[in-house]
């Protein structure tokens, strides 16, 4: 409708002006029906889909773990065959690490980022939709093999030569290889979107020293992903070539089996930080709200976040201490791994000091955030121990490592995520989760987790190896294993309480106000749930705590939330400069479109064709992709008619 404009001085409007929201609602609202649903590019819609899908995978992965725990509850049990056990522990790892841990954080970040940053959407809304559609396609692809009994079965790390064709001739590993390459595309486009969103779509005044820590966490993870994901995608591609086309990258007589481990862990270790740093950011932003004071040490925590990832690129060999590498190499990587303790400790001390010097309000979200600190310290100490090569030689491939990695991943990912759900559920749904059930939820999960995983340290020290489907009687492991299984049942019950709470509260939960926790950041300045356009006028901020300025009294400057840029000539938001967030461009945002869905479908067809060597199907998928890309990138005709042009990317 709008005539072409070269430049414009956008109108400023006060909130409460008559008819303000109605026109924006029309511009930004989702069209009805299935096509409207498929075509939506609203970051809140995509964020919710991500969160729901990732939780579904968490439950699947949890059920897989629980079946394994039943098998291991006593010696010489025969609930599972060795082959079934191999597939189960592999799918458990793949599911939790790739299909839950990273996507759940993408979900929260997708939902929250534009709200935290005072924007109307991500920088690339269509890329956002694409990222989700590829993610779910890859998830279904990976599970397709498993449901017909041909799932990946060499562990999520997939070491060669176990995973080469001579030792694992079925289609199991090919599905895993192709599925992960597909998932890598989703992660990559999502990461690029976060990076550009961070740099360009913060609201006026939100300089880089004023953004919430969650955005630092996700930004760091995204940059890490852009640099690290190609490594694992390449490793899986080369493995697939070895298996299908007779190349010699990883075989023992011509290639180099250790090359697999290098490529895998050069990706794998940065990835560990990618799946915890945004969750740590959730704690850094959520915990202060319940401590009634700003985070202690914002700048050190932000710098520690970035430092952790930078160091994280130089520690991958600590996953390979037992492979016979030269001791000089081991010393270097051992030292680098130990040094990572420093930035991690910065965050722990900052959170502890925030609680110590604050006036904590003990909510369920607070309990999960505080519980995370405890688990992080335990997992950090066991990580520090195994960073030392001699100790690692004793403990590697034992249950000690299983205990360590679960303290780290459940402790620093699942606990903050559940805490984050209690914290942001009112914003997302407009209803509060039940606090009373929440206490039960927390304590069952916290006790269950520790009963399940603390004894695993002991099992490891007693020499129980990982990845075995059963063990003989009389090893001294039986009682402890039974305790572990009982603990995991309690933990599972805790997760069930969470699901019950969500199901009940969605219908009957207390109605949430705009800012039920009296929190300081921008997402709480809009309604619960937010309108499709997020903010009727773009806020401009003058501090890290726009909603706490009056009481903190840090300076005289005040954020302006009730007056700002209207931007209603079509879908628009403001672009600002990367550091100081000075407005420098009016961004035209794309309309809803099925192109991302079609593109993801084309990719899924290509990968399915490749798995079955149906090359005609690959060609069909490629044609679909080219069509989708042309629709996507076709320049805007209204601009071309006038002396100008603009295309959406």
């Amino acid at each position: 409708m709008s005539a072409w404009e070269d430049t414009r001085a956008p109108e400023t409007r006060r909130l409460g002006a008559p008819g303000l929201g109605r026109e924006l609602e029309e511009i930004w609202g989702e069209k009805p029906g299935l096509l409207g649903w498929i075509s939506s590019v609203d970051h809140k819609e995509i964020g919710k889909r991500y969160i729901v899908t990732a939780f579904a995978f968490l439950i699947l992965g949890g059920l897989e773990a629980f079946v394994m725990r039943l098998q291991l509850a006593g010696p010489e049990l025969r609930l599972l065959t060795p082959e079934a056990y191999d597939q189960l522990f592999t799918m458990h790892g793949v599911t939790m690490i790739f299909l839950y841990a990273a996507p759940i954080l993408s979900g929260f970040s997708n939902y929250l980022w534009p709200l935290l940053l005072g924007s109307r959407d991500m920088a690339f809304p269509r890329l956002n939709a694409l990222s989700y559609w590829i993610y779910i396609a890859a998830g279904l692809f990976l599970y397709a093999g498993f449901v017909v009994g041909r799932g990946p079965n060499d562990g999520w790390f997939n070491y060669v030569p176990y995973a080469d064709r001579a030792h694992d001739p079925g289609i199991n590993i090919d599905v895993y290889a192709l599925g992960l390459i597909l998932l890598g595309i989703s992660t990559t486009v999502g990461s690029a979107n976060f990076v550009v969103t961070f740099l360009r779509t913060r609201c006026p005044g939100m300089s880089v020293n004023r953004v919430p820590i969650l955005t630092w966490g996700t930004l760091t993870a995204s940059v890490g992903n852009l640099l690290a994901v190609p490594s694992v995608s390449l490793a899986f591609f080369l493995l697939w070539m070895d298996r299908q086309f007779g190349t010699h990258f990883f075989d023992t007589d011509q290639g180099q089996p250790l090359l697999w481990q290098h490529l895998f862990w050069m990706f794998g270790h940065p990835w560990v930080y990618a799946i915890v740093l945004p969750a740590m950011g959730m704690v850094s932003d959520g915990l202060p709200t319940f401590c009634r004071r700003p985070l202690v040490g914002y700048t050190p925590v932000a710098l520690a976040t970035v430092t952790t990832m930078a160091l994280g690129f130089g520690v991958w060999v600590h996953h390979m201490f037992a492979t016979g590498l030269p001791s000089l190499s081991l010393s270097f990587f051992s030292a680098a791994s130990i040094i990572i303790v420093i930035p991690s400790a910065v965050a722990v001390f900052a959170w502890t000091a925030t609680i110590w010097t604050g006036r904590p309000v003990i909510t369920t979200a607070f309990l999960f955030f505080a519980g995370m600190i405890v688990l992080f310290v335990i997992g950090g100490v066991s990580g520090f121990m195994t960073a030392s090569a001699p100790l690692d030689w004793q403990l590697t491939d034992t249950y000690f490592i299983v205990a360590h990695l679960h303290y780290v991943l459940i402790g620093i990912n699942v606990f903050p995520v559940v805490g984050g759900l209690y914290y942001w559920f009112p914003k997302i749904t407009g209803r509060m989760l039940d606090e009373r059930l929440g206490r039960w939820n927390f304590w069952t999960m916290f006790l269950g987790f520790n009963i399940a995983f603390l004894p695993m340290h002991l099992l490891g020290v007693l020499g129980m190896p990982r990845r075995i489907y059963t063990y003989p009687d009389g090893m001294g492991w039986s009682t402890t294993n039974l305790i572990v299984t009982l603990g995991s049942a309690l933990f599972a019950a805790g997760v069930l309480l969470l699901l019950v709470n969500v199901a009940v509260s969605l219908r009957r939960g207390a109605k949430a106000s705009d800012n039920p926790w009296d929190a300081p950041t921008l997402e709480w300045a809009t309604t619960s749930p937010p309108p499709p356009y997020n903010f009727a006028v773009i806020p401009s901020v003058a501090s890290r705590h726009p909603l706490w300025e009056a009481r903190l009294g840090e300076s005289d400057a005040r954020s302006r939330l009730d007056e700002g840029l209207l931007l209603d000539h079509g879908r628009e938001t403001i672009a600002t400069t990367p550091l100081d967030a000075e407005p420098n461009l009016i961004l035209e945002m794309p309309p809803d479109t099925p192109a991302p869905f079609l593109l993801a479908l084309g990719l899924a067809i290509i990968f399915s064709g490749a798995a079955g060597h149906w090359w005609w199907l690959v060609g069909l998928g490629a044609v679909l992709i080219i069509v989708a890309l042309l629709i996507w990138f076709w320049p805007n005709r209204t601009h071309a008619d006038e002396p100008g042009q603009a295309g959406h990317v």
């Binding site: 070269d6 430049t7 414009r8 001085a9 956008p10 400023t12 920088a123 690339f124 890329l127 690029a192 979107n193 990076v195 550009v196 740099l199 360009r200 006026p204 005044g205 300089s207 852009l226 640099l227 190609p230 390449l234 080369l238 070539m241 086309f245 007779g246 190349t247 010699h248 990258f249 011509q254 180099q256 090359l259 290098h262 490529l263 050069m266 401009s540 003058a542 403001i574 672009a575 600002t576 100081d580 967030a581 000075e582 407005p583 420098n584 461009l585 009016i586 035209e588 990138f633 320049p635 805007n636 601009h639 071309a640 002396p643 100008g644 042009q645 603009a646 295309g647 959406h648 990317v649």
Partner: protein
């Protein structure tokens, strides 16, 4: 100071050159693709060092075709740059000529690479050197093909009059991608065609 506060000045609307989000998105794509090639070349050097000098086929790869072909690809980058400067001055004809030359040179590069591939005495499955050679040069050729498709799309859109002196973000964005593909070739060329003469 009231940094970041909007002071009522007119702002550009929509994608505008290096100020567009598309430009920044392309830089992200280039960063991740550069990492991909870094890991590819890491794989080559890792296997080469582990296997030692006897691993690579003798004689060393010839520069007879690959040398001139490198010049061809670099020239295509110059043509893209020259065309982009044209659109910045509002000279659509110059821009179309620049793009056409670049597309032609890119196609020549692909054909010569085809001859280079056919002349090899080893193949993808004959040994790890062959696997690495054909995979890495193949990855690069795939990127050349993608770059050519993008240049062709931009050429068509330019001919249809979609771009002008102020609105040409897609031209700049596709140009930087093409320069990247050429820069990658220099790294690949140096690895396969130059390092054997230097070190072995």
């Amino acid at each position: 100071m009231s940094e970041g506060v909007y002071r009522g000045q007119p702002l550009p609307v929509g994608a505008r050159g290096k100020n567009s989000v598309g430009w920044w998105g392309m830089l992200c794509l280039i960063a991740t693709e550069a990492s991909l090639f870094a890991y590819l070349l890491f794989s080559y050097y890792y296997v080469a060092i582990q296997r030692g000098p006897s691993w690579a086929p003798q004689p060393h790869p010839s520069l007879r075709l690959s040398g001139p072909n490198t010049v061809v690809l670099l020239a295509s980058s110059v043509a893209v740059w020259w065309g982009e400067e044209g659109v910045k001055k509002g000279e659509r004809g110059r821009q179309l000529v620049g793009l056409a030359i670049a597309i032609g040179l890119g196609a020549v590069f692909l054909v010569v690479q085809g001859f280079e591939w056919r002349a090899k005495t080893f193949n993808l499955a004959s040994g790890s050197y062959g696997s690495l050679f054909f995979t890495i040069t193949g990855f690069h050729m795939a990127h050349v093909i993608a770059g050519l498709l993008i240049l062709i799309a931009v050429f068509v859109w330019s001919a249809m009059g979609y771009f002008n002196i102020r609105r040409h973000a897609p031209v700049s964005i596709s140009s930087i991608y093409w320069h990247f593909v050429d820069a990658v070739w220099l790294a690949v060329f140096f690895t396969f065609y130059v390092t054997p003469y230097l070190f072995w």
